[in-house]
Structures are given as structure tokens and as C-alpha cells.
Subunit: 86 residues, 2 copies
Amino acid sequence: MDVIKVSGTSRTSAVAGAIAGVFRENKRAEVQAIGAIAVNQAIKALVLAKGYLKEDGFEIVFSPEFVDVEIDGKTRTAIKFIIEAR
Amino acid sequence: MDVIKVSGTSRTSAVAGAIAGVFRENKRAEVQAIGAIAVNQAIKALVLAKGYLKEDGFEIVFSPEFVDVEIDGKTRTAIKFIIEAR
């Protein structure tokens, strides 16, 4: 299962669709965002995805954690959201 | 139970302590943030609060929703995080 990576320019509806799609297949999804703008986009996508999946009868919750990722040889702290059924 | 309001200048450790305190008392907490910077602060506080409460034997999860709030006579969209035990 691939981690869904969100940037500050990601469209929330596209990210929400990806979250819902991965969740339907795996009953779990992971979303990663770096920086305030990307985190905010990720959260808005989670609200939308929650609505999409509720229509399918799934109630999702998430748990955030810090993860270190390497980008262009530099270590940055990302936030990873684990999405699971309640 | 009061909603914990997070701004862009809120200290994450202070917010995390407030979340953990409210959760210990009510087995539920609500956190509200408006704007990308505040949402990012709220998420970092949620990661910290998750750690604090894990030490107490609680595993918490979050569910985000949009809420309209009125500030200075203008309607703005906030994100509210509901924190509950898994």
C-alpha cells in the first residue's frame, strides 16, 4: 500500500478520492504531508474522504505521527496520518 | 466541556497538555483551529497529546469536521477535531 503524499498545491478533492480509494481496497490508508500548507490540505481532504466513506458505511478515524523523511539529501519532519475504521 | 481553541501562535506543548487534561476528565476532547498555521499547530499538539495519553494507557484517535464559526461578524470555516478513545 502506497503512502498518499500531499503537497501544498494538491487538490483536496483529488486527495480525498485517493484516500477513499485506498481505504476501500485496504481498509487502511496512510497520508503524508510536510509543512503547514500541506498538512492543512491533508486535513481538508480527510474531512471530505470521511464523507465519501460514510456513504459506503465506513466510519473512519485517524491518528497522526511524526516521521523523518529524506528529501534532496536533507532530513525533514513530516506528519503521517494513519486512517483506519473506527 | 470547552472546545480547545488553537491559533497560529499557540504553543504546541501547552495545547497538548490542555488536550490531555480535558481527555482525562471527559474521555473526549474537542479542538478547533482556523487557517493552515493553526491547523498545523493543532496536529502537532495532537501528536504530542497522543504520546502523553498513551503513557496513561489511553489510545486516542481523531475525526475532523468543518464547522462555521462567527468571528467579528464574519463567518469563517474552522476545522474541529473530535478526540476519542479508539
